[in-house]
Subunit: 314 residues, 2 copies
């Protein structure tokens, strides 16, 4: 099979041996695979794939068709449309994954949408609802509202009856973010727009002092990205006074059983919202690239300034 491959910090297309579905696993013919910030870090050698995942083939999400079932696998049949988060190796013509990590693809979604759905919607749902417990009527602040996780979080929160404010650094993207249902504001002086019950933090250290100041009593900060720095000051007395909590979370390092649980929750609480009329959720796509142009796709992702996913088609 052909696969995007990391070679000395560059993305090239190489032939690899076809993977084989082991016990409880499924071999998938990948049709679309979204890019994520973690791929950029992995390309630079900063975020190695977990043990058991291909180390040199990037990609943490895909959509495709079931090709073969490994021994004991029975959740899906050959030909069914499935998608999943994986530890790595998604940006390839073939991928294997345990069947409990797979999710069925709603009929309303085409391949690029399905290939760019799992990572950001699972991450946003887990952070905002499972970790931070956002409730109807609450006020969510999303930092980085134009990013993949940000656009997912905004839509999920709106569909659940919460109001959303989103910081968007680039003024030219604010209108598109507002169209998703958020009040889109500058990333400066956001604290004045609070109080917020939940803050989804993807930027990291520079925001944290203002985050805590802008938090409502009983508020929760969920940190799932530290693109602008990891070390911050924390005033414990302010945390106590607000009766607040700070969560840190990643999906990638979780064991299979936790990833499977997360997939079941997304099936139940997220996927139906893509099939309401009108759909409550959609997957914004900025641009798609054929596998042969994977390197260009990475450059496009790294350049930023987009709203929506960059997705490889295979």
């Amino acid at each position: 099979m052909r696969a995007a491959t990391i070679r000395e910090g560059e993305i090239v297309i190489e032939e690899h041996p076809d993977p084989v579905a082991g016990l409880g696993e499924v071999l998938v013919r990948v049709r679309a695979a979204g890019l994520n910030g973690a791929d950029m870090m992995q390309r630079r050698g900063l975020y190695p794939a977990p043990a058991g995942s291909p180390q040199d083939i990037p990609g943490m999400e895909f959509a495709g068709e079931v090709l073969e079932l490994g021994p004991g696998a029975n959740r899906f049949a050959a030909g069914e449309r499935v998608m999943a988060i994986v530890g790595g190796g998604a940006q390839a013509e073939l991928a294997v994954v345990h069947e409990r990590q797979l999710m069925p693809i709603p009929d309303a979604l085409d391949w690029p949408a399905a290939g760019g759905l799992p990572e950001v919607f699972t991450t946003a749902h887990d952070a905002v609802f499972v970790q931070a417990g956002l409730r109807p009527g609450e006020h969510l602040l999303v930092h980085g509202g134009a990013g993949g996780v940000g656009t997912a979080a905004i839509q999920l929160a709106r569909a659940a009856g919460a109001s959303v404010t989103a910081t968007v650094r680039r003024p030219e993207l604010r209108e598109q973010v507002a169209a998703l249902g958020a009040r889109a504001i500058s990333d400066e002086n956001f604290a004045a727009e609070g109080p917020f019950d939940v803050i989804l933090e993807l930027v990291g250290a520079p925001n944290m002092v203002d985050d805590l100041q802008a938090l409502a009593t009983g508020g929760r900060i969920c940190v799932i990205g530290v693109s602008a720095g990891a070390k911050t000051e924390l005033n414990l007395l302010a945390l106590m006074g607000k009766r607040a909590r700070i969560h840190g979370s990643t999906l990638r390092a979780r064991p299979l059983e936790e990833k499977a649980l997360t997939a079941r929750l997304v099936e139940r609480e997220v996927l139906p919202l893509f099939e309401t009329s009108p759909p409550a959720l959609r997957v914004p796509i900025a641009e798609t690239f054929p596998l042969a142009e994977a390197a260009a796709a990475y450059e496009r992702f790294a350049a930023g300034g987009k709203l929506g996913k960059i997705v490889l088609e295979l």
Copy 2:
């Protein structure tokens, strides 16, 4: 009525008008009232009582007999033994409190034990179980294991099937802490004794970096005291990698309905454990003082080096 009274940083005994039970409130003849760290801060003007509580009469917990019922109050009858956390004013011969904050006193407890129970057992139960969600089989680290909240947390965690390590600064108190069911260790190098699923933090900033290092994956740090400092450094990437959370919490500032809920939880999950055979919980008492010697009681509390509560008898 006579009451301990704060006058320019000193505790004196003064006459005050008898309080009157308002709507849904109960007038209690106080028999015992425990001292807490917050009283020490309030005496120094650093921790004013919340609005609606007496500002110059300290005391956040008491035990006594129901004397009179205000309009609409019907949970208890005159003469019943009751105890409660209050926002202030407990160190007085008479106190009024909303009936939903009152709890019945288990028969096994005498007045000093009941007067020293509410604050530390409610605080420990709320922090360790309600906030941090300690589970059977987990490993709890209690910082300040010889303190009032520490001794309560150790006993509660052991009764719930968790194992407990407790830091105890003074070597001479470690044997008494160990007798409560904890492994009692020095407060230096505690991180080497992890990993811990839950850390109860009463000391504050100086411990936080090591707390995070010593935390298990999925662990929780609950900060309810900052006696040694409030400003700390936080590594968000470490928090993410551990999928950890940091809670800050106080009881005092909560509204009546939350305090009432907390009291119902203590009635259900804590009080029965004082009446098992042998009792799973006890209230360690270091020393009792008559009201007239309240100033001496405060000095004894401030001197430290004790295990167990300092309680006024009235």
